[in-house]
C-alpha cells in the first residue's frame, strides 16, 4: 500500500513537473491567472511534505524488515526530493544563473558548476550534523538553527564576491582579451574559468532538507543510510541546478548570436549583462541573508 502511494506521488510529481515545464501550458487561460505562482508554491510544498512522509515510512520499513525494496524506494524518493527541493529558494540557482549571464562559458561548465555546488552542499550538511550531533551531542532542533548561521555566512560571502564581480564588470576588466578575439572575427572565444571561491561560498550553505534527513536517520540509528540518501538527494539537486546553468549558458549564447548577426556591437551588451548579473547576485544574497537573519 505504501509503495503504491509512493509510486503515485512520484508519477504525480513527474506529470505536474512536465505540465509546468510545458510552454504551451502557460498560454492556457486557467494557468495564466495571477495565482499561478502561489498555486505552484503550495503544490511544491505539499509534494515535498508527502515525499518527506514517504521517506520516513521507508526508513521504518528498512529498520523493521531491512528489505531491499524499501532501500531502493528511499533512494528513488531522495533523488526526486532533491530535484524538487532545489527548485525552492537557495541552493545557489540564482548565483549559477547570474554567473553564466555574466560570463561566456561552455555548457559543460553549467553541469560542472551545478554538480560541484550540490556536492559541497551535501558534504556541508553531513559535516555539520556529524560534528554537532555526533561529536558535540547538540540538540537536533538547535542544529537546524546552526545551519541558519552557516547560511548567513555563506550568503554574506556570496554578496562580497558579487560586489567584486560588479567592480570587475564596471571597470571593464572582463573583456581585456575579448577585444583581441574580435579583431580577426575569430569565434574561438575565450571561455571564462569557473570561480572556485564562488562555488565554495555557494555550496557552503547546507541544505536544510539534507540536515533533516540525516537527523531522522540518526534518530533511527541508521546514520549510514541517511548519508547514502543525502548523496542521492545531492544528485537530484545537481540535476536541477545544472539544468539552470546549462539553460543560461545556451540562452546567453543565443542572445549574443542574434545581436552579432544583426551587426550590432556585443561588447557593451556583455558588459551590461555582467553588471546586471552582479547586481542580481548581491541583491538575491542580500535577500537570503535577511531571510536567514529573521530565522536565526
Amino acid at each position: 500500500m505504501r509503495k503504491v502511494r509512493a509510486a503515485l506521488i512520484v508519477l504525480l510529481a513527474l506529470m505536474s513537473l512536465a505540465a509546468w515545464a510545458d510552454p504551451l501550458h502557460k498560454a492556457t487561460p486557467a494557468a495564466s491567472d495571477a495565482s499561478l505562482g502561489g498555486g505552484f508554491v503550495v503544490w511544491l510544498v505539499q509534494t515535498q511534505h508527502q515525499l518527506n512522509e514517504s521517506i520516513a515510512d521507508a526508513f521504518h520499513d528498512v529498520e523493521t524488515g531491512g528489505s531491499r525494496d524499501a532501500l531502493a524506494l528511499i533512494l528513488g524518493l531522495a533523488f526526486l526530493y532533491g530535484v524538487l527541493h532545489a527548485i525552492g529558494p537557495g541552493h545557489g540557482k540564482s548565483v549559477v544563473a547570474s554567473y553564466f549571464v555574466a560570463h561566456r562559458a561552455r555548457w559543460t561548465s553549467g553541469i560542472l558548476m551545478g554538480s560541484l555546488i550540490s556536492l559541497i552542499q551535501g558534504v556541508s550538511a553531513i559535516v555539520l550534523v556529524g560534528i554537532l550531533a555526533i561529536i558535540l551531542q547538540a540538540k537536533q532542533v538547535q542544529i537546524l538553527n546552526r545551519g541558519t548561521l552557516v547560511e548567513l555566512v555563506s550568503y554574506g560571502l556570496i554578496a562580497i564576491i558579487g560586489i567584486w564581480m560588479f567592480y570587475r564588470a564596471a571597470s571593464g576588466k572582463l573583456h581585456a582579451h575579448a577585444d583581441h578575439d574580435h579583431y580577426g572575427h575569430d569565434h574561438d572565444h575565450h571561455h571564462h574559468k569557473l570561480d572556485p571561491r564562488l562555488i565554495l561560498a555557494t555550496g557552503l550553505t547546507p541544505c536544510a532538507s539534507a540536515i533533516i534527513i540525516l537527523l531522522f536517520a540518526l534518530a533511527n540509528h541508521a546514520f549510514g543510510l541517511g548519508v547514502i540518501a543525502v548523496a542521492v538527494l545531492t544528485v537530484g539537486m545537481a540535476v536541477t541546478i545544472s539544468t539552470i546553468g546549462v539553460a543560461t549558458v545556451l540562452g546567453r549564447r543565443a542572445l549574443l548570436t542574434v545581436i552579432d548577426k544583426a551587426g550590432m556591437e556585443t561588447h557593451r551588451l556583455e558588459r551590461g549583462l555582467a553588471m546586471a548579473a552582479a547586481v542580481v547576485i548581491v541583491g538575491v544574497s542580500g535577500l537570503m541573508m535577511y531571510d536567514a537573519w529573521i530565522r536565526l
Binding site: 505562482g37 508554491v41 505539499q46 511534505h49 520516513a56 529558494p89 549571464v101 533511527n220 529573521i294
Partner: protein, 189 residues
C-alpha cells in the same frame, strides 16, 4: 535577470510540517475558547522526541511533557502560537494558552493546548475564522484531512464550520493561499 527573478519567486522551503485540528469551545451562547491539536511531521517529531526525552523510543512521561512545554513550546508564545483568530472580521489578540499536553505515538508528536476566548455573538450572522500560519513559512501548517474542526457544547449557537481558503502574506514568498477553519452562526435576534 528574469530567470533569476522567477527562480526566487517560485520558491518554497518549509522544513517543518504541522497538521492541525481545532475544537471550538462554547458555553451557553458564548465562544469561550479554541482547543488546538498540532501533529508534527514524522521527521521533526523524531527530533523533538530525541531532544527532550534523551531516549530513542517510548511514550512521553509527565516530566517530558513539562520539558517540552518549557523548552520548546513556550518559544512559540513570541509568535502568538501562530494562531490567527478573527471574529466578524476583527482579529483577536492572543495573550495566553492553557492546558498544554503532548503525546507521541512512536512516529508522530502531537501538542494540545487551549486558547481562551470570550466572544459574545453580534446580531445577525457571525463569522469566526480560526487559522494557524507561519508568515516566515518555516513551518507549513495545514488543517488535518478528516474533521479539522469540531464544536463542543455548541447546541445553543448552532455553529456551521468548514475549511475556507484565504490569502496570507509571507515574508519571502509573497501572498500564498492558506486554509482556515471558518464557522458561521446566527446571533440572538
Amino acid at each position: 535577470l528574469c530567470l533569476a527573478a522567477t527562480t526566487l519567486s517560485a520558491a518554497a522551503h518549509p522544513h517543518v510540517f504541522i497538521a492541525y485540528a481545532a475544537t471550538i469551545l462554547c458555553q451557553n451562547d458564548k465562544i469561550v475558547g479554541v482547543r488546538f491539536a498540532w501533529t508534527f511531521d514524522e521527521m521533526y517529531s523524531a527530533s523533538l522526541f530525541n531532544d527532550y526525552t534523551g531516549r530513542p523510543k517510548g511514550a512521553l512521561t509527565p516530566a517530558d511533557i513539562q520539558k517540552l512545554h518549557d523548552e520548546a513550546f513556550k518559544d512559540s508564545a513570541e509568535e502568538h502560537y501562530f494562531a490567527e483568530i478573527a471574529f466578524n472580521g476583527k482579529s483577536i489578540p492572543l495573550a495566553r494558552v492553557t492546558d498544554f499536553g503532548a503525546s507521541y505515538d512512536g512516529r508522530k508528536m502531537t501538542y494540545r493546548f487551549t486558547v481562551p476566548l470570550d466572544l459574545a455573538p453580534a446580531h445577525g450572522e457571525n463569522v469566526l475564522d480560526v487559522g494557524v500560519f507561519d508568515h516566515e513559512f518555516y513551518i507549513d501548517f495545514e488543517p488535518v484531512k478528516h474533521d479539522p474542526v469540531t464544536v463542543e457544547h455548541g447546541a445553543a449557537l448552532k455553529l456551521a464550520c468548514a475549511p475556507a481558503t484565504l490569502t496570507k502574506d509571507t515574508t519571502t514568498f509573497g501572498p500564498l493561499k492558506a486554509q482556515v477553519l471558518r464557522c458561521r452562526f446566527a446571533g440572538a435576534a
